[in-house]
């Protein structure tokens, strides 16, 4: 499994946000994007997820028996949770489980298990809108567990979380990496991963940026 980006560049409106970003991630690798606000972290993640067209360069994915479109191998957790407040948590999760489908059969955990893993077992029958912001975030994270994807793309995953929930998240991310998954995250806080590579985004630069290493 390899997620490879070569010479990526993207614009926000008229301005070039970044250019010539390359990385190459294999199974178990994590890449953390850091940088000040507006440096293009979110944009880079959205380009990799295939939600924004790249100005230049390309993203390729090679996995066992999967198609070469990178976005299909990815889970994307953006600022918004992609859950409907009118529906219960389990309705939301089971919708995404069925809709996303498990790429590697059977590797997604059940809904009850997933809510247990994010530390909120037993309240899956509540409407999503009843939960607090932090709980909603945790349930959105449970979405990553119910349908298996090798690549996790997380945009500020720790926003609105307390210390204990952060710990839970770090654990889950570690487990994902140990199982051979990939991680691409933008964050302000340290995620507490020991083997992570870091990509520092400087933003609004016309000159090529230092990529990895």
């Amino acid at each position: 499994m390899r997620l490879k980006a070569e010479g990526l560049a993207a614009r926000r409106g008229e301005d070039l946000l970044f250019s010539d970003i390359s990385f190459d991630l294999g199974g178990g690798d994590a890449l953390i994007l850091t940088g000040h606000n507006g440096s293009g972290k979110s944009t880079l993640l959205r380009v990799v997820a295939g939600l924004l067209p790249a100005e230049a360069g390309r993203v390729t994915w090679s996995g066992p028996g999967e198609s070469s479109r990178a976005s299909e191998a990815c889970h994307y957790l953006g600022h918004r949770n992609a859950m409907k407040p009118e529906m219960t948590v389990s309705e939301n999760l089971s919708f995404w489980k069925t809709f996303l489908g498990d790429t590697a059969r059977g590797r997604g955990v059940s809904i009850a298990e997933a809510t247990e893993l994010v530390g909120l077992g037993g309240i899956a029958h509540l409407p999503f809108g009843y939960l607090s912001a932090g709980q909603q975030r945790r349930m959105a994270f449970a979405k990553l567990l119910v349908a298996y994807r090798p690549v996790w793309i997380l945009d500020e995953p720790m926003a609105a979380l307390d210390a204990r929930a952060e710990e839970t998240f770090t654990d889950l991310i570690q487990r994902h990496l140990q199982a051979g998954g990939l991680l691409l995250a933008a964050t302000h806080q340290p995620l507490g991963l020991d083997n992570a590579q870091e990509l520092r985004m400087k933003g609004f630069s016309a000159f090529p940026q230092d990529a990895l290493q």
């Binding site: 959205r46 997820a49 295939g50 939600l51 924004l52 067209p53 198609s67 479109r69 976005s71 299909e72 990815c74 994307y76 953006g78 600022h79 918004r80 949770n81 992609a82 859950m83 409907k84 407040p85 009118e86 529906m87 309705e91 089971s94 919708f95 995404w96 069925t98 809709f99 996303l100």
Partner: protein, 219 residues
């Protein structure tokens, strides 16, 4: 895909869903017409099919702007765009769910309003039938407008403005088929078949256009 259909239907009947409001708007629009033109039953029965059709057209547009906007607001649209399902199919299913939740009630309510308009039984049947066949076209055309205006803050008004001109052929053939059913010399089938053809045509073109717009409207 079935799960998407079921989810959208669930959402439309849950609190805050628009299914009831569309029918209510339809009834209100049609009900105020007699106050404007006067309670002359002959006149009402003459203009009835046109009034019912225009009322249905307006109320079908009412909820359309929310078709993709709610998905975008909570981030679901991103996840839907990333999937391997053909996006055209996803859009088609969403249109279908929207039609079942918002337009089918209009079709069911139309005979009632036909009675208020003092229309004959044949005319009522014809209007209900043409609405049943023609209203999917409105949803499919509207999907393009909704996809184009998905990221705009006051998208609702814009969707109506964008979609109404495109919906004119549907209105023309829907109303003329309804009239043809009542008035003798004009045959019913030709305009009705054209209406069906328009619906089938937009069932292909609408989702294609909407998918294209969604792909390019990412931010």
């Amino acid at each position: 895909m079935m799960t998407l259909l079921v989810r959208d239907l669930k959402l439309s009947v849950r609190a805050g869903g628009g299914a009831l409001i569309g029918v209510l708007f339809f009834m209100t629009v049609v009900a105020v017409i007699p106050f404007g033109v006067g309670p002359d039953l002959n006149l009402l029965s003459r203009i009835g099919p046109a009034i019912v059709w225009i009322g249905a057209l307006l109320s079908a547009l009412l909820g359309l702007d929310r078709l993709f906007q709610t998905e975008r607001e909570d981030g679901s649209l991103d996840l839907i765009l990333m999937q391997e399902h053909p996006l055209v199919l996803t859009v088609l299913v969403k249109c279908l769910a929207h039609w079942i939740a918002n337009c089918l009630p209009l079709v069911i309510a139309s005979p009632l309003l036909g009675l208020f308009m003092n229309m004959s039984e044949v005319a009522i049947g014809a209007v209900a039938l043409t609405l049943l066949v023609g209203s999917p076209a409105l949803t499919f055309i509207g999907a393009v407008g909704a996809a184009v205006a998905v990221a705009l803050p006051r998208g609702g008004l814009l969707v109506s403005i964008l979609v109404l001109p495109l919906a004119i052929p549907v209105l023309i053939f829907g109303v003329s088929a309804s009239y043809a059913a009542v008035e003798d010399p004009a045959p019913f089938m030709p305009p009705f078949l054209i209406l069906s053809a328009i619906t089938l045509f937009f069932a292909v073109l609408g989702p294609l256009g909407a998918a294209l717009a969604l792909r390019n409207g990412g931010d």
